[in-house]
Amino acid sequence: MPPLLEMLGIVRTFGAVRANDNINLTVQSGEILGLLGENGSGKSTLMKVLYGMLPPDSGDIRFRDAPLDAKSPFDAIKAGIAMIHQHFMLVEAMTVTENILLGWPGGGQVLKHKQMAEHIRQASRRFGLDLDPDARISALSLGRRQRVEILKAILRDAELLILDEPTSNLAPTEVRELLDIMRRLRSEGKGIVFISHKLPEVLDVCDRVVVLRAGKLAGEAAVASISREQLAEMMVGRNVPMPRVTEGEHRRGALRLSVRGLSATGLSAITFDLRGGEILGIAGVDGNGQLELAEALAGLRPVTDGIVLIGDHDATQASVTARVEMGLAYLPADRSHTALVKAMTVFDNLMLRDSRRPPYGTRALLTPKTGVARARDLMAQYDIRAPGVDFVVGQLSGGNQQKVVIARELSRAPTAVVAHQATWGLDPGATRFVLDQMIALRQQGAAIVYISSELEEILSISDRIAVMAGGAIAGVTPNRNVDLRQIGLWMSGRHA
């Protein structure tokens, strides 16, 4: 049987950059293909070429044993290819049924709500999607919304589904359910391209993997025959082990951050002490109070009860600015809205919270000359890859955007740091960079609260690990011979 999809010798250049350099890729019906690669490796370009969003310079695409020449996504959709984007193409104020009906081919002018709802119910049952046709999108979790997208693809008879980083916004249980749905689709004969950074998921669900590196095919393998380390090495061209902190390599400093019975909306009675040179890893399933804790510490969320001390200062009611002066740095999870002004330049973003201090300015005036020099230094020091300090931040890759945030927050030599999902959406190389920065800061004697849903990172850099569940700390353990079962129990909210 010919493959469902065959891409042969795809070349696509942007100026002098060969984003896709002679790439071959095939997908069979009933197969899940993992497409791996660091940010900028050419995965997105390849998929955009397939989906009709970018014309290739050369190369052939065959789909369902016929040449495919998609000039726009609509051509690709019509041919039977569905791309499920990281940000969903759904109207939040409408129901599942209405979203499916939108632009539904055929069916006439008058909407057949009931008939479509019945279709949805059947397909939902068949693929284990568990969707209510009458539910409003705004009331659904991200995982459910993703399923609506999958459902849309299925109902439009897509034979090939492209899932672009589908697990990055999901809670662990939702990830498991998604992987099950993918297996269900596979058994129904659909082909799937699964784009992901997360090696465990790839190894879990894929049949085969294709790895891209710097626009070239770096390798291809059956999942059964490859180890995680080999895969990681294929992706980055070198081995990137997780860093590991060891105890006793330096002396603990003074008390830097002290939290007593801190309560706020969604947060109840959080208590911990943190000394300089110590990293407290906060693990837990997303949505269990991590955001609330980070915001309460940063001064973005009103505190209803409890005390926060930064160094010797009572910061409980202190403003965001006052906390910065007390030595607190904040790396928010929502990089694009809370941490950066995407439409402004790298320089603007670097001075955003420090514009009233030298070298960026004085209380009244900006001093661009010294400021720009400083920004150039930071770009070099933190390896921010942008054409210049005047480049608009929104056009940088996710990894480089995060480096801008890190450069701004950490270059202030903070004594206390709150980092929330600091590696979200970053590839292994960029993730390693962030973790190394945390460790360097620890070495310099800062106290760090590292909040992440990636347990692996927590285990790698923490001195102590706390687990959050239901807005409270379910348990704390030193990062020494950690009992993972215990951590799992805490995460699930059971105090064992």
Partner: protein
């Protein structure tokens, strides 16, 4: 009492028509600030069309065309060229005021009678129903455009909720990117919605000049377009909600007229503020509420 309610309906009709047009525009994601100007051009077109051809149909057609032309201007500037909705709408209102007044002067100076007087559209009692005591004369003895308003209210509700066109229009007001991703053209949807808005609001103007006054005077809409804007917000962007709001506004104005008649010492200016105060209160209570089309006033993405 019947008289008072009938007056409320009479006052509410032109405002409701404009509000229905505004719903089309706003549900597609374009603030309908230009309703006032669209009404005014509609009122002008209706008067001139009727006067020049001696046919009410020509008046109606010219009202529709005039309103739609205003809609076209607004849609090109605000949708195609992504100008700010508020500024565009206000500018359109000012242009409409100047243009209609100027054209009236030209017609007057070209030897035509200074004052145009058209016969008002006649009341069409619905046989049988009009004889029901009390509510018969109230509900079933109106001029034709009033019935048309009711029909449009029903039709628009159906269009929005039960047809592909309506679904696409609502989705364009909520999230045009999704519409684009579905293979449809949000730019076209918005432009057509604003043009249709102009046509319906123009009809609202025609109600004033053909059914109630019989001629065109400068600035004869005197804020009814803005009242329509308030009504569609108070009515939460639904035809029936807007109808209810318009009736309340109509009742407020009818009440005011009565007060004046009885010589009650309440300034008419105060009473005239009432509908707007209701509108402001509802707006404040609503905030940027989820019922408001999520993408209203936001320009379409450059490459879409």
């Amino acid at each position: 009492m019947i008289e008072f309610l009938a007056a409320s309906i009479r006052i509410a009709t032109p405002i409701l028509l404009a509000a229905l047009g505004g719903i089309l525009s706003e549900r597609a994601g374009v603030f309908a600030v230009g309703l006032e100007g669209m009404m005014l051009v509609g009122a002008f077109g209706a008067t001139i069309g009727t006067w020049a051809s001696d046919s009410a149909y020509a008046g109606l057609v010219l009202a529709l065309v005039g309103g739609a032309a205003m809609g076209l201007v607004v849609s090109v500037v605000a949708v195609r060229f992504r100008a700010d909705n508020m500024v565009t709408g206000l500018a359109a209102n000012i242009v409409a005021l100047g243009l209609t007044s100027y054209l009236m002067r030209i017609i007057a100076s070209s030897g035509a009678p200074i004052a145009i007087h058209n016969t008002l559209l006649p009341v069409l009692p619905i046989p049988g129903l009009v004889d029901i005591p009390e509510i018969g004369p109230l509900l079933f003895a109106h001029p034709p455009l009033t019935y048309l308003t009711l029909i449009l209210c029903i039709a628009l509700t159906f269009l929005l909720n039960r047809t592909q066109i309506g679904l696409t229009l609502r989705a364009t007001g909520e999230n045009p990117e999704v519409v684009y991703a579905s293979g449809l053209n949000p730019l076209l949807v918005r432009m057509l919605a604003v043009i249709a808005c102009g046509a319906v609001a123009g009809l609202g103007g025609a109600v004033l000049s053909m059914q109630q006054v019989g001629t065109f005077t400068d600035s004869m809409t005197s804020g009814r377009g803005y009242l329509a804007l308030a009504a569609l917000i108070v009515g939460r962007w639904t035809p029936w909600g807007a109808a209810a709001a318009c009736l309340v506004f109509g009742a407020a104005e009818a009440f005011e007229l009565r007060l004046q008649g009885f010589g009650v010492p309440v300034s008419s200016y105060v009473v005239q503020m009432v509908p707007y105060l209701i509108g402001l209160a509802v707006l404040a209570g609503l905030g940027r509420n989820s019922r408001m089309p999520a993408a209203i006033g936001l320009p379409l993405h450059r490459d879409r």
